[in-house]
Symmetry: C2
Subunit: 119 residues, 2 copies
């Protein structure tokens, strides 16, 4: 599940992370999601790696959707550049771009199906 | 996670189910989701009950979001009336009602957090 990253390339506040850096930790409060422009980020829950996200992938959307704490820890596994999407921008994108809303739904559904398979 | 069910009450094609009936089975193809108007429906994955859904609750949204097979079996546990939402209507709702899209996202997020807790 990836998004077209071109619309996110022109954000002025892109963030660079070196391999080994932590983007956020499980349980933290979160006010933004991230689009991976390049590099790789791993998601872990209770110390168990559940997903690796590359270019065009999204992380951190859960905290924006339900305002809950981070559901996973995000660790950079290959030097990465991330485009943060604030809650305000997220809401605007959902309102103006139905396809963005559907992409987020598909992402959540794909993660849910993967977790279902582990139960 | 419930939706306001009033907008769904006027659908002409509401479906009545008696307790014990199966709405859909895990692995089936699915082309509609359902809003529970009244009654109760249980969701099971691999024979394990993962959720009970009452009035205002939604089921079957996964198959609409990613066109995949039903991720759970839905069994009516109390006589129920369900309002089906076809894929076409779902797409229209996402396009015209950003709040509906957000509700579906929140629902998926709440299910994902619950599954995460089981891992």
């Amino acid at each position: 599940m990836t998004v077209t990253i071109d619309p996110f390339r022109d954000l002025a506040d892109m963030e660079a992370y070196a391999a080994g850096a932590t983007v956020f930790r499980e349980g933290d409060a979160g006010d933004r999601m991230y689009v991976v422009l390049f590099g790789e980020v791993a998601l872990s829950i209770n110390g168990r790696r559940v997903e690796t996200i590359g270019s065009g992938g999204i992380l951190g959307e859960m905290a924006l959707v339900d305002s809950g704490p981070r559901s996973a820890t995000a660790t950079v596994t290959q030097d990465a550049q991330l485009a943060p999407i604030t809650a305000q921008r997220f809401t605007l994108l959902v309102q103006k771009k139905p396809e963005f809303a559907l992409q987020i739904m598909r992402l959540l559904a794909s993660r849910l199906r993967r977790m279902d398979a582990l139960v």
